[in-house]
Subunit: 387 residues, 2 copies
């Protein structure tokens, strides 16, 4: 009705969905919020209502009855339109995958030197079971030959749009989209329910092992192309730079778009300056943190230290699924029992993870600092008090 | 003749091939030697006679006329025997790929705390053009269905053997062996010539992106299996451990075999304590070093600093081939022009590389130290004198 239209004109966010009260907002319009860290590591599968939300624009209202996904093959006159029912006729494929924001843990990098971006803590990440249809199957049905060397990228457009009418967009390399082991799906379910509005209802492309920004929500269009998406978010955002690059010298065309994310870990409990009990000369921290690596790599070890690296302790990898690299898409939850020298009251816990390529985390934010505050995978360092 | 047999009995290394005089031996029997670093970075393709040699055992003498490669499918009675002529009937496939020893740069880690292993400098690595037949084609021809979930590993056995008769052996995951984009080849040529004896004549399996130890030379047998190779080198060597793990506590079954190597870079010229000229307030170093990452990841940036990370300078990536990740198998050669504050006489050049997954190198050896001295990918730090 006209009342509703007026509201929308004055505030395009007025029809955003309700959110769980425990989510901690980094911004409200658009809505961006993370899970409280202690809740994040309680469960291997993050419940939908606790899953971090990263929206660039207002949440669109989509009628599943009239929804259509457009598939375009560039340079041909071929355009395929698929309804939800059409999509659901493809074989159903289910994966469990962690999605992480490129800016996760940005608040730590900002302390080194200010960066531009939402002030995320360590919980702009979650692990869910996604079900839908293989992008590979849809592309092949749309006439794409997987061995055609012409195709370099697959572009995605959301139906969410900015005040000028521009929609959110991103792309991934063609090889990832078409690869048998790529496991890219057009997901219609998140943890057994239709994908919630905040997470992309009715269709979100899930690109496991790849930064959240390419996992486009409210998917409206897929384009098979020789080129990357020309969207702001593909070209002028979500890229890494040298610590020496500043806003006067940055040239976004010089860095590649972030796709697979590097190895990372984070300590979720205890939180900074929390008092932790010492028993039998040890602190025992259950559900201490998570670790994950992009590209389907598996976490093979997490090391923790409370003496600045003089002695390292091997963490227990408590929850990890059975998938083998390069298709290990889920995070690992870990805990540790760490000896504490008697009389020590203030310690700093450091954590670092190693993945199945034996890549490991850089030690400090100082040498990976970048102006957009992305790729915040330095050792996590949390000061605590012991008692 | 009997004279020759007696020689072999007294010294199994007596029939090893002659080697180029500039190779710097890390051990003589077995022969292990690296390229002088300044020569290494002069050319994108490492000449055969300068390519580092990593032999675990005496070099076998193989008659190409009678050579046969055995292909076994475990649990079936199928064994295929392929002569060199049989192999050459498969389509020829050529790749350019860097091969690196797991122990490359070990001499730097040893300085942190002693480790067991050959004392490699930064040149136990080389880049060559390899031609042969796709392992994938040979396996399919041998009756292997690439989608059969039963197969987990492909084992390789050399014909080189130790005094007890045990041959060298290793394995790689089945997915890598069969993957379209895996580019694993049974190579019979290295840089356009038959593979030299030191590098595996007549057939070496080239597993691009994967540690040298799995690129088995003098290939005698391939086994498609549910299990890894049970060789010493697969099970009890070539694995990474925590800095806290020592020879009393190590359990080799607890770490995965190294396959894809992590991102690395090294400075090859200037060498330690070399005097470098300052011109217009800068040092200019051509052919300064190489950078590489396993898993087909491409180097996207190399940063250098001469003031301990206060300021970083972006290196020029001079030589890099056009292959895109995850099939970028070659290294990158880089150089840099670095400003030097006037009056400074002693500086330390540090280098770190970033790959297309935005993984980067750890800062110090201290926190990646491991008892076998493998995976030596901390920042390279070279002290020089300026003039
Ligand atoms: Mo993100
Ligand atoms: Mo090696």
């Amino acid at each position: 009705d006209s009342q509703h239209s007026l509201e929308n004109m004055s505030d395009p966010y007025s029809s955003d969905p309700p959110r769980h009260a425990v989510l901690k907002p980094a911004s409200v319009k658009p809505f961006n919020a993370e899970t409280p860290p202690f809740l994040l590591v309680e469960q291997f599968i993050t419940p939908n209502e606790l899953f971090y939300v990263r929206n660039h624009l207002p949440v669109p209202q989509i009628d599943p009855e009239t929804y259509e996904l457009e598939v375009e093959v560039e340079g041909s006159n071929k355009t395929v339109l698929l309804t939800l029912d059409d999509l659901k006729k493809f074989p159903k494929h289910t994966i469990t995958a962690t999605i992480m924001c490129a800016g996760n843990r940005r608040s730590e990098m900002t302390k080194e030197k200010p960066v531009k971006g939402l002030n995320w803590g360590p919980a702009a990440v979650g692990n869910a079971t996604w079900a839908g249809v293989r992008l590979r199957d849809v592309l092949k049905k749309s006439g794409i030959n997987e061995d055609d060397k012409k195709w370099k990228h697959v572009q995605f457009e959301g139906v969410d749009f900015d005040p000028t009418g521009k929609t959110y967009g991103a792309s991934i390399p063609f090889w990832k989209a078409i690869d048998k082991r790529g496991d890219v799906i057009l997901a219609y379910e998140m943890n057994g329910s239709p994908i919630p509005r905040d997470h992309g209802f009715p269709i979100r492309v899930i690109v496991p092992g790849v930064v959240g920004a390419r996992n486009v929500k409210w998917l409206g269009k897929i384009t098979v192309s020789e080129n990357e998406s020309d969207s702001h978010w593909q070209q002028n955002d979500y890229k890494g730079f040298s610590p020496s690059t500043n806003w006067d010298t940055v040239d976004f065309s010089k860095s590649p778009a972030i796709q697979e994310l590097p190895v990372i870990s984070a300590i979720c409990t205890p939180s900074a300056n929390e008092v932790v009990k010492v028993q039998d000369g040890h602190i025992l921290v259950k559900d201490l943190g998570y670790a994950w690596s992009g590209g389907g790599q598996k976490i093979v070890r997490v090391d923790v230290t409370v003496d600045g690296g003089n002695t390292w302790h091997i963490a227990d990898l408590d929850c990890q699924d059975a998938a083998e690299p390069p298709q290990h898409w889920s995070w690992t939850l870990w805990s540790a029992r760490i000896p504490i020298r008697s009389g020590i009251r203030n310690v700093e816990i450091w954590a670092k993870a190693v993945d199945s390529c034996y890549n490991t985390q850089p030690e400090t934010f100082r040498n990976i600092w970048n102006l957009r505050g992305v790729l915040n995978n330095a050792y996590h360092r949390v000061p605590i008090k012991t008692q």
